[in-house]
């Protein structure tokens, strides 16, 4: 196959396979899992090919239907989306492998359609990443949202209500995004991201543009789960099936964060985002509040999934804080944190899923003796928890390093303090769990059985791969920054 067709293949393969899965599912219930994994793996290969091409030749443009950009839809891939796309594909493959046993146990009989919808979710995420067209992002946003709604709704007994809440809030978010697109279209007449960025230059004084920027921020803020707009997130992450939590938590908010970065730094340029309005200033304060809020609420949770969900809210705050600091270090920290957090949260939710699979509990108090029954899983948990706290040499340390560096370069000492406090709070709630997992004294009957009962290999291996990834990313972080992330920094940011 010609290399120039890679950008479409990365979306097309999972899409086509997802169309076929219901047909195959009629006569074979086992095959869909393999098809889904294969499709994601193929996407991963394509994404790696794209990555390679981008690294060697710079950004790629692909014209769908052969029409020139402002008229037709264009796929535009530069370092930023190539990077996040590879990340999404990588995590997807492993979580997909992971999901098989878990979903068979939790929702027997629904595997066929589960994999179809999972693949559609994947398609939606990748579609949002590759495209260079504002409206196309909306379409794929809706594909991913719809499939996420369905996947969350098949969770535990409270999942339906959480999903309904998510549908209502998520629709508001998507509509606000579309409203922002509409305002931009009204002011410029174009939908193509790069066309827009040139057309918008003389228009920054217009109220229409200002309002559209605000709607983008609100809409994408909802989709990301940024602090005052996060209300859907804890319920959705907590009550979804464990495989779905492990898929959605690391990826969906990251892709929304990518769109946010794309809109604020490519569509609008840096001068608008930072100088015309105090938007970024306000956002960075919101992010700071989110960081503290998420951590504090996480401390008071007794359900581990709820705790991780609130921790996600605080970590989203990190990402937003980094990009809104307006300097190179902060931006790098943000993008690096997208990568690191995807690994950490994927690993943590996968571990929780494995615990639920074996012991059927997610109450932190009942984790006593876990290190005896599931030693490898517990070790992976320790690694991920250390990384969340930000201790070296795990990956989490390095994103924090760059974020602090960014805050210092921006002269914002308050944010240095915020990041410091938050890592302490992280330590508080993660060590609470670690203590239960490794050392809690026996307290009469509520502990788990002592005999070794590790999760099945198909779940354990993805967990270990992600945990190893956390360590490897720590050591490779400078290399990654030099190779890729350094190139993603928008031109206006010094």
């Amino acid at each position: 196959m010609d290399h120039s067709q890679l950008p479409i293949l990365v979306v097309l393969i999972p899409m086509l396979v997802s169309f076929v899965i219901p047909l195959v599912g009629i006569w074979n219930k086992k095959l869909p899992f393999y098809m889904a994994t294969a499709a994601m793996a193929a996407s991963l290969l394509a994404a790696l090919g794209i990555m390679n091409q981008v690294l060697q030749q710079g950004p790629i443009s692909y014209r769908l239907g052969g029409w020139a950009p402002p008229w037709g839809i264009e796929y535009y891939i530069d370092h930023l989306n190539a990077f996040i796309m590879t990340l999404v594909c990588f995590i997807s493959v492993f979580i997909c492998i992971y999901s098989r046993k878990s979903i068979t146990q939790e929702r027997p009989g629904k595997e066929v359609h589960f994999y179809c919808v999972l693949l559609l979710l994947f398609t939606g995420l990748i579609g949002m990443l590759v495209t260079g067209d504002m409206f196309n992002i909306y379409v794929f946003l809706e594909i991913s949202s719809l499939s996420a709604y369905a996947l969350i709704a098949i969770g535990d007994e409270k999942a339906h209500f959480a999903t309904f809440k998510y549908i209502i809030i998520g629709t508001i978010g998507a509509c606000f995004y579309l409203l922002g697109v509409g305002y931009l279209y009204m002011a410029t007449g174009s939908l193509n991201i790069h066309d827009l960025s040139t057309l918008l230059q003389p228009l920054y004084g217009s109220k229409v543009i200002v309002v559209s920027a605000i709607f983008f921020i609100i809409g994408l803020g909802i989709k990301m789960g940024l602090f005052p707009l996060h209300t859907w997130l804890p319920g959705a992450y907590t009550h979804a099936p464990s495989a779905v939590s492990a898929y959605i938590a690391p990826l969906m908010s990251k892709v929304a964060a990518y769109v946010f970065i794309r809109v604020m730094f490519t569509v609008f340029d840096v001068s608008f985002s930072f100088e015309n309005l105090p938007i970024m200033e306000i956002l960075s304060w919101i992010a700071a509040v989110a960081i503290i809020f998420g951590s504090i609420v996480a401390i008071s949770q007794s359900d581990i999934k709820m705790m991780l969900a609130y921790s996600s809210i605080s970590q989203i705050g990190y990402i937003v804080l980094g990009v809104t600091m307006g300097n190179r270090e902060g931006f790098i920290g943000s993008v690096l944190h997208i990568l690191n957090h995807a690994f950490m949260k994927g690993c943590l939710f996968a571990i929780v899923g494995a615990i639920i699979y074996r012991h059927g509990t997610r109450a932190i108090e009942r984790f006593g003796n876990l290190h005896r029954t599931m030693p490898l899983t517990s070790a992976a948990f320790a690694v991920a928890a250390l990384s969340m706290i930000g201790l070296p040499p795990t990956a989490g340390f390095f994103s924090k390093w760059y974020l602090v560096l960014g805050a210092i370069s921006a002269g914002k000492w308050v944010f240095v303090v915020v990041i410091m406090i938050s890592s302490l709070l992280n330590a508080v709630y993660f060590f609470r769990v670690v203590e239960h997992v490794f050392w809690k004294p026996k307290s009469g009957g509520t502990d788990l059985p002592i005999e070794r009962n590790e999760a099945p290999n198909s779940m354990l291996i993805p967990i270990l791969v992600l945990a190893a990834g956390i360590l490897a990313l720590g050591f490779a972080s400078h290399w990654i920054i030099e190779m890729v992330i350094g190139q993603t920094v928008p031109a206006g940011i010094l």
Binding site: Q5, I8, L12, M15, L16, F19, V20, P22, L23, I26, Y62, R63, L64, G65, G66
Partner: protein
Amino acid sequence: MIHEQESIVIKTVARLLVPFIQLFALYVIMHGHSSPGGGFQGGVILAASFILLSIAYGLDEVKRRFSIKALTVLTSAGVFLYAGTGVLCLLLGENFLDYGVLPVVEPRGMGMLAIEIGVGITVMAAMVSIFHDLLDFE
């Protein structure tokens, strides 16, 4: 909710109407090029005809003629026809969905027709399927 209707009038009228509705739907799909309409609208109208049948004759009757499996197959087949047209363009050496290379007369028009039919099939099957699912849920 929907049981077999007692009224012979409704049954007869429905049976009379359905072919015309379906014919119109097909017209809408095929004539989307030169008049308002297209795959979506036609597909939805086609779905409406089956929904009318369900309302008049009861869900079970329709299911007997139009099984769930068939609906699944059609839902997939429609999108597959759409994407398949695009892939065909890929295989013929052009970009995805670039109909110019299709080996037929008026390639662009024909390509569009193919995808409109695909859209129509999917929309019809999907709507009927959602309708059945909602109705069947107990």
